[in-house]
């Protein structure tokens, strides 16, 4: 958003806001029976002496409300960057407490995490990378076909995007893996998974490419025509190179989304991250350990890719102001 230069009084300094927040937290904690929850256990040394359950809940709720309100009041005094770091840290800590309350076996995670990275993360990344490359080609073909004056091309492309955007990816994966062998070609799990992912994401990206192409001003087409360029040269030399600037950033976004959707190909037995998360913990009933490990690995991957994407975006903008 475009910030105004006006300095408004901080909301987190206003007694009315702080009081209201405290009241809401207190009420919510009371209604949810905070005294009986794990939080009650944490405060047990203090509140245990209060034998009446209702009194215990009130005490816990009051503590919670005061702690929360004091917290936002204090963080509110920091500059923006400090606020972001402080809140991130707090949310992360809460997350860790939440995970820790599952009573996880960290030694079990320790024995499996290496394999989950070398086999799972690696497979996830390369399946996604190959798929996004194919999806890029499908999107290029789909968007130019949709914008062409050729009825066949328009029909095939719009049928393609309609089907692959309209059907759940999971069903597409099954249809390709189980359906193509009916035609007499046996496909392995990884090629089938790559095919499904790239066709599906190609369909989404067709729309991104189409918007990118249509955003190029009419004058660029007219100048190309007036110079006598053929339609093919106009597209390949003038229009597409310029639309790439608008297409690359959302494509990065799609890649991050695909990284997570690639977990769906685990259903056909590709040994990627999700498949390992489901199978590695099974023998010892350590499902949560493996799921949480996979969640953290996916998150870390996306985090790295987000950084890469932000960097790319900056570079593309610098080249063309």
């Amino acid at each position: 958003m475009y910030q105004d230069n006006v300095i408004r009084p901080r909301m987190t300094d206003s007694p009315a806001f702080l009081g209201g927040t405290a009241a809401v937290v207190f009420a919510a904690a009371c209604l949810s029976g905070a005294g009986q929850s794990g939080l009650g256990g944490l405060l047990a040394p203090v509140v245990n002496s209060l034998s009446a359950p209702a009194l215990r809940t009130v005490a816990v709720a009051l503590t919670l409300a005061l702690a929360f309100t004091a917290n936002i009041h204090l963080i509110g005094k920091l500059p923006l960057r400090g606020q972001v770091i402080a809140v991130w840290t707090e949310l992360l800590l809460l997350f860790l407490v939440f995970f820790d309350s599952f009573d996880l076996s960290y030694s079990f995670i320790g024995t499996k995490v290496g394999f989950m990275i070398t086999q799972g993360v690696l497979t996830t990344v390369y399946v996604s990378a190959i798929s996004i490359a194919f999806a890029f080609v499908f999107a290029l073909l789909g968007s130019t076909a949709k914008l062409s004056g050729n009825g066949f091309a328009v029909a095939v492309a719009s049928f393609y995007t309609s089907f692959f955007r309209g059907v759940p990816l999971l069903i597409q994966i099954y249809l390709i893996y189980l359906g193509i062998p009916q035609l007499g070609y046996v496909v392995d799990a990884i090629p089938a998974g790559v095919m499904a992912l790239s066709l599906c994401y190609g369909a989404y990206m067709t729309e991104i490419f189409r918007a990118g192409i249509m955003s190029i001003p009419k004058g660029q087409w007219e100048a190309s025509r007036a110079l006598g360029l053929t339609p093919w040269h106009t597209l390949s030399r003038i229009i597409l190179p310029q639309s790439m600037r608008l297409i690359i950033p959302p494509t990065g976004n799609q890649f991050i989304a695909m990284l997570k959707d690639s977990s769906l190909v685990s259903v056909i037995g590709v040994w990627e991250l999700m498949f390992l998360a489901r199978t590695q913990g099974r023998a010892e009933f350590r499902h949560l350990e493996m799921l949480i490990t996979a969640a953290v690995l996916y998150w870390a991957l996306s985090f790295v890719l987000e950084r890469v994407q932000a960097h790319l975006e900056k570079r593309f903008n610098r080249a063309h102001r």
């Binding site: 025509r225 006598g228 063309h320």
Partner: protein, 264 residues
């Protein structure tokens, strides 16, 4: 005047006419946008080397008219012959006409992802299959001719409006057209940049290339034009040599237009 650094102009222009007839011939050109009758029968012959300025109030159809001449706009009726080639909507005819007609736009329409030099070399390389060395030499010669040889490796965004428009003129010239169309070439420019573009256009007119300019620059029209055409409501209302048009306009609408445009 041609700058002393430029090559002799005859070396840079296309060979002379094969016939002595008009190089542009338009008969009864009519165009509709849906129910709106944009051009109501335009007749115009332009001689080789002639500089024609087309003026008129906005919405009079002057831009539409010159955009019809290289089929950036289509038209429903009438006959257009350019350099001996009848203008139809057939690809070969359109390609031939676009090869002999260059165009300069109000918004420059340079290719922002290419450097100035690449902007100039692209079409000769792709359309004329000119070897790279030759295309580069031609491009540099024309850049010098529009007085911006030093900017060859910059991107269009790094240039001022006036410089960009001169690049656009050089880009059109690199295709060695026989006719140049200008569609309000100075309307998007800051006032202090108008002069440098008009000077280049004046030099071109002096070199004998055939020019059709849609412009509101009446000083330029008076100095450079061989003929001024006044359009209103999709018709040519009045035409004549600039002296006659500016000093003794016949038609009331032309008189009104001139009094408004010259009084400010």
């Amino acid at each position: 005047m041609i700058s002393p650094t430029a090559q002799p102009s005859t070396a840079l222009l296309s060979p002379g006419p094969l016939t002595t007839g008009p190089i542009v011939s338009v008969q009864d050109l009519k165009k509709w946008y849906g129910p709106f009758h944009a051009l109501k029968g335009i007749d115009l012959d332009v001689a080789v080397g002639e500089t024609v300025v087309i003026c008129g109030p906005s919405g009079s159809g002057k831009s539409t008219f010159i955009r019809c001449l290289n089929l950036l706009e289509d038209f429903q009726e009438g006959r257009v012959v350019i350099d001996g080639q009848p203008l139809t909507r057939e690809p070969a005819a359109v390609a031939a006409i676009r090869r002999s007609v260059g165009m300069v736009f109000q918004q420059f329409n340079l290719f922002p992802h290419l450097t100035v030099l690449e902007n100039l070399m692209l079409a000769p390389r792709l359309v004329h299959k000119t070897p790279e060395q030759e295309a580069r030499a031609t491009a540099l010669a024309y850049l010098n001719r529009v007085h911006i040889g030093a900017q060859a490796d910059k991107y269009p965004d790094q240039l001022s409006g006036g410089q960009q428009q001169r690049v656009a003129i050089a880009r059109a010239l690199c295709m060695r057209p026989r006719i140049l169309l200008f569609d309000e070439p100075t309307s998007a420019l800051d006032p202090e940049m108008v002069k440098e573009v008009l000077e280049v256009m004046g030099e071109l007119a002096g070199d004998g290339i055939t020019m059709l300019c849609v412009t509101h620059e009446m000083g330029f029209a008076r100095r450079v034009a061989d003929r001024v055409i006044f359009m209103d409501h999709g018709q040519i209302v009045e035409q004549g040599p600039p002296g006659q048009f500016f000093d003794a306009p016949q038609h009331p609408r032309a008189r009104e237009f001139l009094s408004q445009i010259l009084s400010h």
